[in-house]
Amino acid sequence: MKITVGVKTYTDIKAPNFAPQTDVTGSEVTLNDLEVDINTTDTIGIGQYLFLYDDQDNLWAKYWITYAEHIDKQTLRIKADSQLKLLERDILDPVMFSAEPIADVLTEIFASLGSSAYTIDSSFTNETITGFCPEQSAKTRLQWVCLVLGAYIQSFFSETINILPIDEETETLIPIEKTYWKPSVTYRDYVTAVNVKAYSYTQGTPATTDAWVTDNTNTYIQEEQNFKLSNPDAPVSVLTNEITVEGITIVNSTNVSAIASHLAKYYFKRQEVDLDVINNAEYIPGQRVVVYTDEDTLAVGFIESCAFSYGIQARSTIHMTPVEVRESEKLTVIYSYDGMQIGKIEYTLPVGYAFSIENPYLDMQLSRHRFIFRPTTAAATGTMVSGGVTVTVNYEIALDYIPGEGGTKLLHIVSVDDIAQDETDNTLVEIT
């Protein structure tokens, strides 16, 4: 890992404390931060950007330095916050939105950082905001916007703050060979219902009993409406435990239903999973992943947080929620040569998963021969279905190596793949 501040790059750093998280309910804007000790006598000023890179120059974080002090003469401790922190200091005026294009709303929220500081997913392009926003920080307004859009904030592994859709469709499998022994599954208390309050506004003079708001120009009479979704899976014997979202006055009769059902999807599932995986930033908060909770059981859910530790590669402790068990089946790949089974390998994979598993060359000692078998297809491909899948991969002999007596060693080139035959140079493979 390395740190760049200004034009200077520091490689002599102690393991950065970096544990990004995000809120996949869209109801909170998480302020991520980073703490790192640099072995240097340099002095670094606060109020500038710090960049954290891995050894392959992939950006992990672009954060704003808020603290930089020597804790001893050779060690500089730096703390830095995501740019979202800067939005806390920007106070926005009250405003009544009426089908305000999302682009315009975000322009105002990010006014101090500029348009290059953020991106918004193209799926939100035609979204609008309707309702009232009181005087509030830009960060709070962003949080409100995320809730009504069904969006989450990615403020890590990117130069920009990215506003992304909470994607229920795309799933990434974290393979068992990247999963540490052993994930833990826990259950949170039942949430018995989700309540979301929707608001509507009419410009006019309020009666004394009316609730009203003002954007400093006009006065609006406020009406409220409660939407409630009860958890059908909650036993009647459990104590009432309801989640209530109120006071977000850009929730209206048009978007309330989607917001409530999204929150219900999140809160009505009780399972949470914590696991450690080898993670060179392939799996990041906000992603929907399928994980192994034991050797044969799969679960699917969103990554909420990743706390990283470092070696040559990186490991992360992942917290996932909400999680549900994912149906899984066995994939059996049989390696076959001339009708004879020469190898077999099994995987547990989620049903519906489109697999593509590279077929390896097989190096086998049979009789006095050493054969190298080459697969006739590059990968075993297909889609997992209930009941399991068996794929047979045909092999042909590529090399037949016969260690002879008296020091003679013969190498028979039995077959050559199509790509290699196009080559003009003859390359001899070293066989020892």
């Binding site: 891995d54 050894d55 392959q56 068992i176 060979e177 990247k178 999963t179 540490y180 022994w181 052993k182 994930p183 450690d276 080898i278 060179n280 192994y292 034991d294 050797e295 530790s309 470092y310 070696g311 040559i312 590669q313 990186a314 490991r315 390896p360 060359y361 097989l362 190096d363 190298i372 590529a398 090399l399 003679t408 060693k409 013969l410 190498l411 028979h412 080139i413 039995v414 077959s415 050559v416 793949d417 790509i419 290699a420 035959q421 080559e423 140079d425 003859n426 390359t427 001899l428 493979v429």
Partner: protein, 173 residues
């Protein structure tokens, strides 16, 4: 056998015990498929050296002792390595010796030992190296004519020609 510390070469008689620590990182551990994942940071060399400074060279002994016990974090070492030498920045640990007084009032220090431990790996891999390992298990670029036969000779692999009876001194039927 000589070695050096901070540019000063020492040719005094010595014993050198070489240790290579293939250091795993803290992220190493057991995986769910029961394989142990060993994330190796690198190979760190350590040399445990016992020196025997001949009588009459007490000044040299003292000079070496003062270098070894200097309160600095890093020295430059050149140490024997296979048939060659290796240069590394390292620290000194465990400097020990013994004070001897013998009848007649003679007194001296002897048996100086210390350990020089590399602060940096002498061998390491990058993240890119590690990620590329094992992706292609066996050769993919064999481009020798199908059906050919090669023979391992003193010159390496060469096209093989089956022997005919004329190659033999005597042929029996």
């Amino acid at each position: 056998m000589s070695w050096s510390i901070d540019g000063i070469e020492w040719t005094v008689p010595c014993d050198i015990l070489r240790t290579a620590e293939i250091k795993p990182s803290e992220i190493s551990g057991l995986l769910l498929n029961k394989r142990y994942f060993n994330d190796v940071l690198g190979t760190y060399m350590a040399y445990e050296i016992g020196v025997a400074v001949p009588f009459g060279k007490e000044d040299e002994y003292t000079r070496l002792y003062e270098i070894l016990t200097a309160p600095i974090g890093e020295h430059t070492f050149i140490m024997p390595y296979n048939q060659d030498t290796v240069t590394f920045l390292g620290r000194v640990e465990n400097v020990k010796d013994a004070f001897v007084r013998i009848p007649g009032g003679k007194k001296y220090w002897k048996g100086l030992t210390f350990t020089a431990i590399a602060n940096h790996p002498s061998k390491t891999m990058t993240l890119g190296d590690v990620l590329s390992i094992g992706l292609t298990p066996l050769p993919t670029s064999v481009s020798i004519p199908v059906g050919s036969v090669w023979e391992l000779t003193a010159n390496g692999w060469e096209p093989y020609t089956a022997p005919t009876y004329t190659d033999f001194d005597e042929v029996y039927f």
